[in-house]
C-alpha cells in the first residue's frame, strides 16, 4: 500500500523544484507542476516499475479569472490500478498563453478528454492530432465554461442572484 508521503518524496527527488504545492485533500495526493514537466512527469509515473500509474482517469480544466497569471488550471487525475493509488496533477496556465502539450501520445483516452477541455475552456493542447470542438457546434466562437460567460441571460431582471444561486 503506497502512502501519499512516499510517492510525493519520490516525485520531489526526481523533479525537484518543478513540482510544488503538495497537498492531500480528502486523502488524494495533489500537486502542481509546470507545463514543460507535465508529460515527462506522467511518463515517469507510467514507466515507474513499482508505482505503475498507468490509467488516465480524467483530464479537465478550471477557470480562475481572479488570479492573475494562473487563470487556467488543467487537472489530470491518474490512477495506479496495481497499487490502487490515485493522484491529481495540476498545471496552471496564464490566459495569454494557454498552451499545454498533449497526452495523447501516452493515453488514447486523452484524445476526447482534451478535445472536451479545448471545447469548454479553450485550452490548446499542442500536438493533439485532431483538436476540434466535440460537444458544441463548430461555429461557436467562444468557450462556454469560462466564467465570463454567464448561464443566464444578463438582460433579465426577474432573476436575482441573491435568490437564485450564484
Amino acid at each position: 500500500m503506497l502512502t501519499n508521503e512516499e510517492v510525493a518524496q519520490t516525485i520531489i527527488n526526481q523533479f525537484g523544484e518543478s513540482v510544488r504545492d503538495f497537498d492531500d485533500p480528502y486523502n488524494l495526493l495533489t500537486f502542481s507542476t509546470t507545463r514543460e514537466n507535465i508529460i515527462p512527469l506522467i511518463t515517469y509515473l507510467k514507466d515507474h516499475t513499482t508505482y505503475q500509474v498507468s490509467f488516465l482517469t480524467d483530464i479537465t480544466a478550471i477557470h480562475y479569472p481572479d488570479s492573475p497569471g494562473k487563470e487556467f488550471c488543467v487537472v489530470y487525475h491518474l490512477h495506479s490500478l496495481i497499487n490502487n493509488f490515485r493522484l491529481r496533477i495540476k498545471v496552471y496556465l496564464t490566459a495569454e498563453d494557454i498552451h499545454i502539450p498533449t497526452a495523447t501520445t501516452l493515453y488514447a483516452s486523452a484524445n476526447w478528454m482534451e478535445r472536451e477541455t479545448f471545447d469548454l475552456f479553450g485550452v490548446i493542447f499542442d500536438g493533439h492530432p485532431d483538436l476540434r470542438r466535440i460537444l458544441n457546434m463548430e461555429e461557436m466562437d467562444y468557450h462556454p465554461m469560462r466564467k465570463e460567460y454567464p448561464l443566464e441571460d444578463s438582460t433579465r431582471e426577474d432573476k436575482i442572484d441573491a435568490l437564485f444561486g450564484r
Partner: protein, 410 residues
C-alpha cells in the same frame, strides 16, 4: 422467324460493353444521428468498402445540455436532477454518487441503514441498466423475444423506485445525508417479490441466449479489444472487465458499505461482444446476491444522518417544528455552509467509473463540477473496434458497449 423473335427480345437490352469495370472507391455511409438501430442520438460517418467498415468518425454532442455549466449556479441539493439525466438507465447510481460526493466534502457520516438502502437501490439500478443493455443487444442481433421477457422485470424495478421516491425514470432519489424516507412495508414486499421472481426470468433469458448458436455466431470475436488497448482507451466497468481486467470501484475503493457484502467480479477473456454480454449477465446475478444480503442484514436505526444543517428535514417536521422550518428554509434557499475544498469521488456506475470532481469555494453552488462520464471516454474506441467488420456487427458492438447518449453528451 426464330432470329426475328430474338431480335425483339434483345431490343431493350443495353449494348454489350465488355467486362465490368471495378472501381476502387469507398462508400461513405452516414449512420445516424437518428437511426432506428442505434439507441440514442449517435452519428457515425463510416467509410465502407462494400460491406466492410474501413474507418469511422463519430460526432457527439447532439444532446449536450451543459450540465457542468448549469451546476455552477445550482445549490448542491438541486444537482441530483442533472445527474438523473446522464445515465438515465440507472439514475439512482448517479444520484447516490452525487450525494456521496457532497457528503465527503461536508464530512457527514451516514448511518448503516441508509447505506444499505442505498446499496439496494444502486444494485437494482445496475440490474435495470444491464437488462436494457443485454435485452437490446439481443434485439439488435434479431432476437426480440428475450427483450420482451426481461423488460417486464424492469417495470417492476421502476415500481420499486416509485415506492421509494415517487418517480420512475429520472428518480432524484435520496438526499444529502441519507434517504428521503425509510423503506416502506410495500417497498420491502416489492423488493422481496422481485428477488423471488427475477432469477427465474433471468435464467429464462440466459437459456435463450447464452448457448444459442445463432447468437454466438453473431457475437463471438466481434468487436474484440485487448486489455492493454482497453486500459489505454480508459475503459472501465463491464467493458473493461470483459477484456480481462478485474477493476471494480466497489471493491477497489469501497463506498457505502460495499465491503460488508460478499460478491464476485466476473471477468471475460477476449473483450468481445459475447464477453461483454456474459459479464453483464453474471453481474446481474451478483447484484441479486448483494441485494439479498442487504435485505437480510438490513440494520435498524435512522435512515438519515444527524446533520440538520445539511439534510432536508421531513415535511411533517417542517410544519410542526421551529428548527426544522429554519433548516428547511436555509437549505432550500441554498444558505448552507459548505467548506472550501476539492473532492473526487467515484462510484461504479452502470457503465464504469462514474466520477464527480467537485471544487467548492465555500459558496452555495459548486465553483466547478466535472463529471467523469465513462461512456464519453470509452466511446472513442468504437471505430477501432469496428474496423474490418460489417455494418451489422457495428450495430451490435454499439449495443454491447452500452453507450447512453445522455451520459455521453452530458
Amino acid at each position: 422467324m426464330v432470329s426475328e423473335d430474338l431480335d425483339i427480345a434483345n431490343k431493350n437490352l443495353p449494348a454489350e460493353q465488355g467486362p465490368v469495370q471495378y472501381v476502387n472507391e469507398l462508400t461513405t455511409l452516414n449512420l445516424g444521428p437518428t437511426h432506428p438501430a442505434t439507441h440514442g442520438i449517435f452519428q457515425n460517418i463510416l467509410q465502407m468498402d462494400g460491406e466492410k467498415i474501413v474507418s469511422g468518425e463519430q460526432t457527439v454532442g447532439y444532446i449536450h445540455r451543459a450540465f457542468e455549466k448549469i451546476a455552477e449556479r445550482r445549490p448542491f441539493y438541486q444537482i441530483t436532477t442533472l445527474t438523473d439525466r446522464m445515465n438515465y438507465c440507472s439514475s439512482p447510481i448517479n444520484n447516490m454518487g452525487w450525494h456521496m460526493t457532497v457528503e465527503k466534502l461536508l464530512g457527514i457520516d451516514i448511518p448503516k441503514r441508509a447505506q444499505y438502502i442505498r446499496v439496494i437501490m444502486m444494485e437494482l439500478a445496475r440490474i435495470a441498466d444491464h437488462i436494457v443493455c443485454n435485452g437490446i443487444l439481443g434485439a439488435d442481433a434479431g432476437a426480440l423475444t428475450g427483450f420482451t421477457y426481461v423488460f417486464q422485470e424492469r417495470e417492476k424495478i421502476y415500481d420499486i423506485y416509485e415506492e421509494i421516491c415517487g418517480a420512475r425514470l429520472t428518480t432524484n432519489m435520496g438526499r444529502i445525508g441519507g434517504m428521503e424516507r425509510d423503506l416502506s412495508p410495500t417497498a420491502i414486499r416489492k423488493i422481496r417479490e422481485f428477488l423471488v421472481r427475477f432469477p427465474k426470468v433471468l435464467q429464462e433469458f440466459e437459456n435463450l441466449f447464452n448457448r444459442n448458436r445463432i447468437f454466438m455466431d453473431r457475437v463471438i470475436n466481434v468487436g474484440s479489444i485487448t486489455a492493454e488497448r482497453a486500459l489505454s482507451y480508459g475503459f472501465t466497468g463491464p467493458n473493461l472487465r470483459a477484456a480481462g481486467v478485474d477493476y471494480d470501484v466497489r471493491v477497489m475503493n469501497p463506498y457505502s458499505s460495499y465491503d460488508d457484502f460478499e460478491f464476485d467480479i466476473p471477468i471475460g477473456q477476449n473483450g468481445d461482444t459475447y464477453d461483454r454480454y456474459m459479464v453483464r449477465s453474471e453481474e446481474m446475478w451478483q447484484s441479486l446476491r448483494i441485494i439479498k444480503q442487504a435485505m437480510d442484514n438490513l440494520p435498524e436505526g435512522s435512515y438519515y444522518a444527524d446533520a440538520p444543517q445539511y439534510y432536508l428535514p421531513p415535511k411533517q417536521e417542517v410544519y410542526k417544528n421551529m428548527e426544522a422550518l429554519i433548516y428547511h428554509f436555509k437549505i432550500v434557499m441554498g444558505e448552507i455552509d459548505a467548506p472550501v475544498g476539492e473532492v473526487y469521488h467515484a462510484v461504479e456506475g452502470g457503465n464504469g467509473e462514474l466520477g464527480f470532481y467537485l471544487i467548492s469555494d465555500g459558496g452555495r453552488a459548486p465553483y466547478r463540477l466535472h463529471f467523469r462520464r465513462p461512456c464519453f471516454i470509452y466511446y472513442q474506441a468504437y471505430p477501432e473496434m469496428c474496423k474490418g467488420l460489417t455494418l451489422s456487427d457495428a450495430i451490435i458492438i454499439m449495443s454491447s458497449m452500452n453507450v447512453i447518449a445522455g451520459e455521453l453528451d452530458a
